[in-house]
């Protein structure tokens, strides 16, 4: 009865099985095939047209061909056409160095109470050496120096204008001639105007913290001319992106700053919002960039792209990992000295203390919603702990948080033993620590500049500073493998708790109970089998026909 129906059913079953099986094989085949992952395809499409076009040639503008006497005159020339540029720029953090953008709210920002564990503080811009990187002709007091970001020729304008000023005071015709020569050089340099290139951004951002690769670990001069292995996007043998290809701009506000606010409120692809900043990976790659059959796409709501695609940072140049200020001040015959380490970087400097450098560093991972919380010079610290000067905000339960890679810079820096606050020494200048090697004076002056109290008693406290790692994205075949995280004992996320990760986590109770059941069953059938073996002669006729 049912027997007639069965071959038909069997055929259907087999057909389904073969269908599912073959589609699996087909999908598996695409893994090694030439088919591209959708995220890759989309991104390539988005950046297909490489050329930018502009409607002006700055070498032809008469206003730029004048003999300039000062930086301000250059800026005025720029503003004669770009009338709103200066007003726009004055509102950006690049100018204010304050997270709020408001001079009255000094809480966060390097011109405010924010500190780090490198050169600690800009002392409300009193530390003049910091001004090297400020995009003004002289701090925030004078005009914007447009050339800092838009000058295509590397040219020391400050020096040139100081010389021009000096020679102009001189009546000697020879001096006048020299002055005119310098002015001609300035005019040539000034005519080379463009959108910011790697040199412009890199001059400050590759050298943050006082030197090449000191601060970030994923930003250093190796990105001036990287290959694809170092950075798939910026590689000169590949897409050759400039910084502004991703750090897109509106009204001179450059996308990508991570402080109290995230770089973007939400990651959107260009399909969702074509004017969204291209600062996130999602902008071009979408939030399901991997091949459709890939479990990797299920990771994107919990794991940042950077976590797997930047396996190590500082892959070419070393980056500073620790800085112990308490060791500073040692002099040889009354003079400061420095010791070079294996990586060609100073591991001791009288003016700075002990420091260590590393290359090919494995990041540390934290939950991050894109914002950082920081301990400023105003905040009360607990000196018995390691003070987190800057730390990512986020948790496993938060839908906006992802597991994100960080460089942790470990420092030891001065704090006020009475007020329990981090202290901001004045470093450069005649009365700065780098000249006087006098902590008391440097700390007193530094605190005064910020308008913060200093009890006079200080010691050194251990601190950490977290930098998000987001540059130096490696080619896809260098991305992490599953077991670099999905590992029982020593995966990269071993210390990141509060969520269940297959391969790493288990319930001791479930596993114990499980193995008890399994071993119990094994023991049971083993004993039963032995019992049967020894009683096999009982009623043999029945058991064996």
């Amino acid at each position: 009865m049912t027997k007639e129906r069965i071959p038909g059913l069997l055929t259907v079953m087999l057909a389904v099985f073969l269908l599912v099986g073959s589609s699996w094989i087909a999908l598996a085949a695409t893994d090694s095939g030439e088919d591209e992952a959708p995220g890759r395809k989309m991104a390539k499409q988005a950046v297909k047209r490489e050329q930018r076009w502009i409607t002006t040639d700055h070498t032809k503008h008469e206003v730029l061909q004048k003999p300039f006497m000062s930086g301000e005159q250059v800026t005025q020339a720029c503003l004669s056409c770009h009338s709103e540029a200066s007003a726009q720029f004055h509102k950006t953090i690049h100018w204010t160095w304050l997270a709020s953008g408001d001079k009255k709210d000094m809480k966060y920002g390097k011109a405010g109470y924010s500190v780090n564990n490198f050169c600690i503080s800009a002392n409300a811009m009193e530390d003049k050496s910091c001004l090297k990187c400020h995009a003004g002709w002289n701090g925030v007091d004078e005009d914007v120096n447009c050339l800092k970001c838009h000058g295509m020729e590397k040219f020391n304008y400050k020096e040139a204008f100081t010389d021009i000023q000096a020679f102009s005071q001189d009546e000697d015709p020879e001096s006048k001639e020299i002055m005119q020569e310098i002015q001609a050089e300035v005019t040539t340099a000034v005519s080379k105007i463009g959108l910011p290139g790697r040199n412009n951004c890199g001059e400050c951002h590759f050298k943050g913290g006082g030197g090449d690769g000191v601060k970030h670990g994923d930003l250093d001069t190796s990105l001036m001319k990287p290959n694809k292995m170092l950075d798939v996007h910026m590689g000169t043998d590949g897409k050759n992106f400039t910084c502004t290809r991703c750090h897109t701009t509106t009204n001179h506000n450059i996308a990508g700053r991570v402080y109290t606010n995230p770089a973007v409120e939400s990651s959107k692809s260009l399909l969702e919002d074509d004017l969204a900043p291209k600062i996130t990976c999602v902008s071009c790659h979408s939030d399901a960039p991997h091949k459709n059959d890939s479990k990797m796409n299920d990771h994107t709501d919990k794991v940042s792209c950077q976590a797997c695609h930047i396996p190590e940072y500082a892959r070419v140049n070393p980056t500073k990992m620790t800085w112990d200020w308490s060791k500073a001040g040692d002099l040889k015959e009354g003079k400061p000295y420095h010791i070079k380490g294996d990586l060609g970087k100073d591991i001791y400097k009288s003016i700075k203390g002990d420091m260590t450098w590393e290359k090919n560093v494995v990041p540390e991972y934290f939950w991050s919603n894109g914002t950082q919380t920081s301990t400023t010079a105003e905040d009360i610290i607990d000196p018995s702990t390691v003070v987190k000067v800057s730390q990512p905000v986020g948790e496993a339960k938060d839908p906006d948080s992802r597991i994100f890679p960080f460089k942790i810079h470990r420092g030891k820096q001065p704090y006020d033993k009475v007020n329990k606050t981090l202290l901001a020494p004045l470093l450069s200048g005649e009365k700065g620590y780098w000249t006087t090697f006098n902590w008391d004076e440097a700390l007193t002056l530094g605190s005064k500049a910020l308008g913060l109290p200093f009890s006079g008693e200080f010691d050194f406290v251990k601190t950490t500073y977290a930098f998000p790692i987001t540059h130096m994205v490696a080619p896809k075949n260098k991305a992490l493998s599953c077991t670099q995280c999905h590992d029982r004992d020593d995966g990269r996320l071993a210390t990141l708790t509060g969520f269940y990760m297959p391969g790493r986590d288990k319930s001791a109770a479930v596993d114990s109970l499980g193995w008890l059941i399994v071993l119990g069953s094994l023991g049971g059938v083993g004993l039963h089998g032995l019992g049967r073996f020894f009683t096999r002669k009982n009623g043999r006729r029945d058991n064996h026909g």
């Binding site: 079953m13 990771h299 493998s481 039963h528």
Partner: protein, 214 residues
């Protein structure tokens, strides 16, 4: 009992045998790859283990639907209706009788392939253990898609893991039980060929038969 003659009857249809061995293969493959994903050992490599596990798991889900369909259209589901009748004597047989060489109280017969203990076990397996395992597996697989914030992954994973251990336990006992037939391999060969050995004189009692079966 010398006069008892052993005959062979056709007990398991082609579909049943196909389903049985396919399911056996899938369960074993899922256990092996599942334990690797669990971090118990390394064999295929995590990525491949996960891919194979997901593929077989999803395929099983589809195939199980066919099995359930077959079960109900053929009326075979009635073979899974639990009964307490003779359950105790079956338990007693496996606990004592088997050592004394006593005969099995409920021999297999055409249309009665499960003894009361088997009915209970297989009902538990196919109505509880496997569905729970499939359901928790689907939750596990799609966890990221249903936003995953309502239930943490941990309890889903724990249930899935515990059920897996139960299946290993079932597998061990099940395989062992196949050796308790007329000969060590007679049950296994029955599941391969479809022909099971029984005593010629075995009578099938009324309660065992699917009464309404046409």
């Amino acid at each position: 009992m010398d006069d008892k003659k052993i005959i062979k009857i056709y007990l398991y249809t082609r579909f049943e045998r196909f389903w049985h061995w396919l399911q056996a293969f899938m369960i074993m493959a899922l256990i092996i790859t599942g334990l690797e994903i669990h971090g118990t050992f390394s064999l295929l490599g995590f990525k491949r283990a996960a891919n194979v596990h997901n593929f077989i798991g999803l395929s099983w889900l589809v195939l199980f639907a066919f099995f359930v369909f077959w079960l109900f259209t053929t009326g075979e589901w009635k073979q899974y209706i639990p009964t307490t009748k003779k359950l105790f004597s079956v338990v007693m047989y496996y606990s004592f009788g088997i050592f004394q060489g006593k005969p099995h109280p409920v021999e297999k017969a055409p249309g009665a392939k499960h003894n009361p203990l088997q009915r209970l076990t297989y009902l538990g397996l196919s109505a509880l253990l496997l569905p729970v395992q499939m359901f928790s597996g689907v939750l596990y697989y799609t966890w990221n898609s249903w936003a995953g914030f309502m239930i943490p992954l941990a309890p889903v994973a724990w249930i899935h893991t515990l059920m897996a251990f139960m299946l290993v336990s079932f597998l061990l006992v099940h395989v062992y039980m196949t050796t308790t037939g007329h000969s060590l391999f007679s049950h296994i060969s029955g599941m391969i060929t479809g022909w099971e050995e029984i005593y010629e004189t075995t009578t099938v009692e009324e309660w065992e038969l699917p009464a309404k079966r046409k």
